[in-house]
Symmetry: C2
């Protein structure tokens, strides 16, 4: 399929912009492919106006149509075959196996949201029936369900060019809730983005969705994204990326004349606590698992285990030796793009310049020509970690830092000093767990997801997943960006009081034609 | 019971402040009762530190204990008897019957949240069980439920001295979710606030809650509230009041180093659309209902019907005559305090100064000595309404304004021009509804609650209620401040991956000891 390097606005190409950029293969530092353009203010406006029209000018699409649309996107993305994988490899430096798995995950997410929409109970329908005989004031008939909110702007993430990009979880959940999406592609993979966007547009046409249901905008500078967040027709925004970028967009969203929610997932250090029993019984296994998790995908995961906390002693020393050896033997890896590789280098420099933090080991130096980062293992003590906020900041890339503690009180002090986290992990025996209840209580307050004897990378896509956590992990700890609950970001309750049956949405009619689970007079039922 | 005019911090009185204020009886413009003090920064800090300690330093209170606490507050508030009603009448100018009903509502809300907590399914427990045999990557065991977020700051509302005040719906829902509350009393009813706070503290003691679970702070200036929102230990804020006040607090909450959610319910004009069939068949009944709703409680409701929209013709003219007569015959009423009465006067002046808006009728002028407002009926045409943003702003008090439209297209244009609303109402016949689907679709996007052939005042407290809506009605349309769903503002999902059974909360254990409704491997069940 041809890449035209146009903005794709409501199904039509547009090339108004004058500022251009192209993809670069990070493994060779070579630019390639067509010149893309930053979307202009006029193009942004047309995309959002088309989204508004799709949302407002016709009755909402029935859930079955939305489900077919999502299933069809899944099929079209699958049909892209090798062209998608080839382009994504070239633009991101990620491996074929990883990208093939990522495509599988993306297709699975689309089908999961199709099923969520088709099954329908996600709308949390609640019905309180009338009681005209109630004394003082008759009781009205009150019915409530979740409905779509309107045009959603989604930002592509650099580190998941398929699963958190054009047809990724944010787009799928926003569409599943009934919203149009205006997608801002990440400038590190514009070709992959266009390819998938064209698949989505074919799906929209095949399922007779309004053309404004999806638009793709490209842009290398910050201005396109800022303009999208500022635009008066935008109702919500989803973003996955850095704390600095997410916070800048959040500030714009909150300071609009009409503030809108901005759901930013901004990563974290994902602390791993090693309790004594686990270190004694499985220290070497944990060390191997840690190095695998910290270097997987060249460490480019929001859930990368960036901080490891353990209690001093011979078992921790042995653990450190094993981790140091494994990291020394690791290979440098190509990062997503030059800027992210430079940032990783600066973060490592910032950390090692802190008195009390040292590099325990690192892999062979990478090649700048291949945009390579070298896996790095650092260590420090609790006093240094507690005294230096820098030490607690995310270092995005293949590194992890051990924090040596004097005992349970210092483990707890370290936990207490942490900012909000996507995840926190504990390695322990059942006895360890029983003996460290105060630590567990602190971690419950700090993170969105707690893991026991595992590693935080590899986020399962399911109903119970929570990929989100207290700030600065995300801007809103109420919501998740992975799993079927991600749909709740893009819907709001709408209540109908005393409306005749035939004018209610099917989800709220007495007969429950969609056979969804509802709360009727405070009883859960699906009849 | 004695009113000591102290801050009540974790069960102890404190009187550090130097700036003082007292209550004023608006019906006589007479100050009365003890001198209260603005809480100091030190007192604010102590209240939040006590809340933090209550939240962090012990395992969470079991749901049954929280439920008993809420039930006990309900009993203690009931036991306040006439003293509560007498004080509230004196501080607010509201009638005994109204305040007695408001107490009943408050007690009902507390019991509803006790039942929500006791029943337990509100935590939205989700369990996805493991599959160690899954190919590529074994499937982990993932379990998720809603948990408390920490110290919540609640602001009292002037217009509901009981139901949206110390032990009102915001406090009850925050406590029900397991959070401590620091309550900022509204300066218009400090005595009523202290009386209820003492009832809550007796309940906390009786049910062995941590003393930091509830604190009451007083303050007449803005600084106490701003300081509470800025405080680093505050995790969320609930506010009911003006757009200006709510937005100022929202801006502070969003611009903190660590932003927190601020749930502000800021009122709206609650448009009422009169469709032709309804006007023809029930014009006079609707007119009576409208005047009753617009003057109830001297118009001091967030859901006051401030704008009425109809199609020109003899039936609308007749409707206007009836409304004008009823308003002319209405009595002036004492508003809550002098400032709110002056604001009402200024709003009416602002409206009548717009060319094209006229006063159709008003009740006899009120007495300034009695802080009285005069019910007022204004009218304009769609052109004026569309051209003047002023005309679409809330006028808090006993008034309503008719907007004359030329036909369905103008009805829709008026609807489209509206800001976000708590409610929108349609009076019509089934035929009207069928003929005005585009109007209904616009209103669905504008409001949190749609009413058919009713009036928006009188917000039913139930599971299906949505008291909230798109900005500026509230700062977050995802949530409600009335009804059992109000609890969701104060809880966030927490996910446990691969934890042993005995270390999971009861809500997530295999045996489902609390017998709550859960989603287990995507099936809803309560076994």
């Amino acid at each position: 399929m041809n890449i035209t390097a146009e903005q794709l606005i409501a199904g039509r190409g547009s090339r108004d912009g004058s500022r251009t950029f192209s993809a670069t293969n990070p493994a060779t530092a070579t630019p390639f492919g067509p010149q893309f353009r930053d979307a202009t203010a006029g193009e942004i406006d047309r995309a959002l106006e088309a989204a508004r029209a799709a949302f407002e000018e016709a009755p909402p699409s029935p859930p079955e149509q939305v489900a077919l649309f999502l299933d069809r996107i899944a099929a079209e993305v699958t049909d892209l075959g090798d062209q998608l994988i080839d382009l994504a490899v070239a633009e991101t430096g990620l491996g074929r196996d990883r990208l093939t798995a990522e495509r599988g995950r993306t297709v699975g997410q689309l089908r999961m949201f199709a099923e969520t929409t088709r099954e329908g109970s996600w709308v949390d329908a609640r019905i309180d029936t009338a009681d005209p005989t109630r004394q003082l004031i008759p009781k009205p008939d009150v019915r409530r369900m979740l409905v779509a909110i309107g045009p959603v702007v989604v930002f592509g993430a650099s580190n998941f060019p398929i699963a958190f990009s054009v047809a990724g979880g944010d787009t799928a959940s926003a569409l599943a809730a009934g919203n149009p999406v205006v997608f801002k592609a990440h400038p590190a993979h514009p070709n992959t983005s266009e390819l998938i966007a064209r698949a989505a547009l074919r799906a929209a046409e095949a399922e007779s969705m309004s053309p404004g249901i999806f638009s793709l905008l490209q842009g290398a500078g910050h201005e396109v994204g800022l303009e999208l967040v500022r635009h008066p027709l935008t109702e919500a925004v989803a973003f996955t990326g850095s704390l600095r970028g997410g916070r800048a967009l959040f500030d714009v969203a909150a300071s609009r004349p009409r503030p809108i929610p901005l759901y930013a997932e901004m990563g974290s250090v994902n602390p791993v606590f090693l309790l004594p029993g686990a270190l004694a019984s499985r220290g070497e296994t944990i060390a191997k698992g840690l190095v695998h998790s910290a270097t997987l995908g060249v460490g480019q995961f929001c859930t990368n285990p960036g901080v490891v906390v353990g209690t001093e002693g011979p078992q921790l020393d042995q653990f450190v030796r094993v981790v140091a050896d494994l990291v020394r033997q690791a290979a440098p890896g190509t990062m997503l793009y030059a800027g992210i590789c430079q940032s990783f280098g600066h973060s490592i420099e910032r950390l090692r310049s802190v008195p009390g933090i040292k590099v325990e080991s690192h892999a062979p130096a990478g090649s700048a020509q291949k945009t390579q980062a070298s896996p790095t293992f650092l260590s420090t003590d609790a006093t240094t970690f507690l005294a230096h906020p820098d030490a607690r900041e995310e270092c995005f890339g293949p590194s992890t830092m051990l924090v040596r503690c004097g005992g349970a009180a210092e483990l707890e002090a370290v936990a207490r000093a942490l900012d909000g986290q996507l995840t926190a992990t504990v390695h322990g025996t059942p006895e360890d767990l029983a003996a460290h209840q105060p630590l567990l209580r602190i971690l419950r307050r700090k993170a969105g997801r707690l893991l026991f004897n595992g590693f935080p990378t590899g986020v399962e896509v399911c109903s119970a997943m929570q990929h989100g956590g207290p700030y600065p992990a995300t801007t809103d700890a109420h919501f998740t960006s992975v799993g079927s609950a991600a749909i709740y970001r893009f819907a709001r309750p709408l209540c109908f009081q005393d409306f005749p049956q035939h004018s209610l949405p099917p989800e709220l009619q007495d007969g429950n034609p969609r056979k969804i689970w509802r709360m009727v007079d405070n009883q859960r039922r699906n009849d």
